[in-house]
Amino acid sequence: MSTSIDFLLWVRGPGFDIALFIFVVGVLIRLLEVVILGRKPDYSEPRGAELGAGLLTLVTRTAPEGGSFKRSPFTVVGGYIWHIGFLVSLFLFVPHIELIDSVLGIRWPGIASNLVDAISAVTIVTLVAMLFSRLTHPVKRFLSGPEDYLTWLVTFLPMLTGYLAYHRMIDPYPLVLGLHILSVELLMVLFPFTKLMHAFTFIIARWYNGAMAGRRGVQS
């Protein structure tokens, strides 16, 4: 008998194992191959410290930058909204914290489910608006390739299915919960092989920019 429960059991069992394997192994390979490659030794005498400057750019490059905000306020504001909304729904929804605890053994307090609900609704709308702007703005459209649309889709699907599951909008519930988990598995599988990797590499890149400048004693 093939039921929605069978489907849920598959995505929660073997499906999750496969996705977890590809995600963790893929991310580690991609990070380690960059880190191990290293950089040429710099024999010049350092004129400043790397650490402080590196940490500083981690913060400054994450904060909004005036120039680009003036040029394209929508992209900047929309980008912040959905990134923060996505992270809040991912890390502060109690059922997700339970999952993280079961994988990593660490936990933190969550926030009210209906607050997460409101934030996800805003995030979903923003993601749709961002896609719309990408499709209609001539420059953005010109700059976008298939990978951009693919990464948009695999980011959007977990939000959408999560929203549908929370509101139990598809019957029976095991089906919609299974679809939600499956969409996350899709995200996990594609993650290491697409620009989604920036969720990890941004730390290296931002730190390196500052550290390099710090060593040379210049402002970053």
Partner: protein
């Protein structure tokens, strides 16, 4: 037996009057039946009319690979109750746990009931059917499969009572040593109603029988063959702890502050969100309480394969496997493969550096 025969030809109205049930009592019974079948009170007159004329249907109850919990649940229905009334008014012709007759006499009763009520009787089944080897479960030398097929052949409808009969249940749990299957996997040519639950709520079992008795037809079913009236909504949708779920207030242990305040049991493994059953409204033990009200999460007992759906005390959002151990292995594998990839990159770079030929200005001059 002869008395039974006479009762069988009587309508329910006649039989009730004979037992001294007043009109008022009868209407009360009809109202209870309506609420049991989750029908609006406006249906009471129609129910009264239908029941007045209803004949006592013959019921044959078959028990296969089961724990008798379903029968226990049914007989624990409080008394005097709607359930008892109904059971006074169906003719339970075969039930090897409850009947007095045994051995050949019991089987003879089953055959007689089948014969006399050809095409009209109801078969109730509890327990799953082993297909791996007929010898795993047999009654009076007849394998479960054979008895089921034989008995159902002349039935009007089949009611699979309990999660074992409805979905395979515990015997079907991984690795399913007996090759257990549900009734619905064998019976394809008769209507099968799944009254799942481990055990099912007594009023739900009797509600389905009451529906058949009243309307002569089976209630509307969901995708898993369960009556919509009882299984149409999830535990979570009807749970009185739901406001705490929405506010993000969860008990984290069975005796913490949250547990004492009656907060949501999701973190303690409650499977209410994925489970469709009537516990939150019908309740258990004569309407006293139900699992979540007593402080324990729902196990998901009315859903297929709930035994295989991970630990009862794991939150629904947690995948089923031993994740911490697996994550350890996967991280190990990732680090090893990453190191290999890094080493390959370094060697590519070293080779490129080695192959690099230095070009001087003289060389360029020469060439041009």
């Amino acid at each position: 037996m002869a008395d039974d025969r006479k009762k069988l030809s009587m309508t329910l109205g006649e039989s009730l009057r004979q037992q001294g049930v007043s009109r008022r009592g009868f209407l009360k019974y009809c109202a209870a039946t309506a609420s049991m079948m989750a029908l609006p009170p406006t249906m009471v007159p129609a129910i009264a009319q239908a029941l007045e004329k209803a004949k006592r249907p013959s019921v044959i109850w078959l028990s296969f690979q089961e724990c008798t919990g379903c029968t226990e649940s049914l007989t624990r229905s409080h008394s005097p109750s709607v359930e008892n009334l109904i059971f006074d008014h169906i003719s339970l012709d075969y039930h090897h746990t409850l009947q007095v007759a045994s051995g050949d006499a019991a089987e003879a009763a089953r055959e007689a009931a089948m014969h006399e009520n050809e095409g009209k009787y109801i078969v109730v089944v509890d327990g799953s059917i082993p297909l791996a080897n007929p010898g795993y479960s047999a009654i009076a030398g007849i394998s479960n499969l054979q008895m089921l097929e034989e008995t159902v052949a002349g039935a009007a409808a089949v009611v699979a009572v309990g999660s074992c009969a409805a979905f395979g249940g515990l015997p079907h749990a991984n690795p399913n040593p007996t090759g257990a299957v549900s009734v619905g996997e064998i019976i394809k040519d008769k209507p099968v109603v799944n009254v799942s639950g481990c055990p099912p709520i007594p009023t739900v079992i009797t509600g389905v029988l009451a529906h058949f008795l009243t309307f002569g037809s089976l209630p509307e079913l969901d995708a898993l063959g369960r009556p919509m009236v009882f299984f149409g909504q999830s535990i979570h949708d009807r749970c009185y702890r739901r406001p705490f779920y929405d506010k993000g207030l969860f008990a984290e242990t069975f005796d913490d502050e949250g547990a004492r305040k009656g907060w949501c049991l999701f973190r303690l493994g409650c499977k209410g969100p994925m489970t469709y059953n009537a516990c939150a409204t019908a309740k258990w033990n004569q309407g006293t309480s139900w699992p979540v009200e007593s402080g324990h999460g729902c196990l998901g007992c009315s859903e297929p394969d709930f035994w295989d759906a991970g630990g009862f005390y794991n939150a629904l959002s947690i995948p089923d496997s031993d994740l911490t151990r697996k994550t350890g292995y996967v991280v190990g594998a990732g680090v090893a493969l990453g190191a290999v990839a890094g080493a390959l990159n370094r060697s590519t770079r070293a080779k490129a550096a080695a192959k690099h030929e230095t070009v001087t200005i003289e060389d360029l001059d020469k060439k041009s």
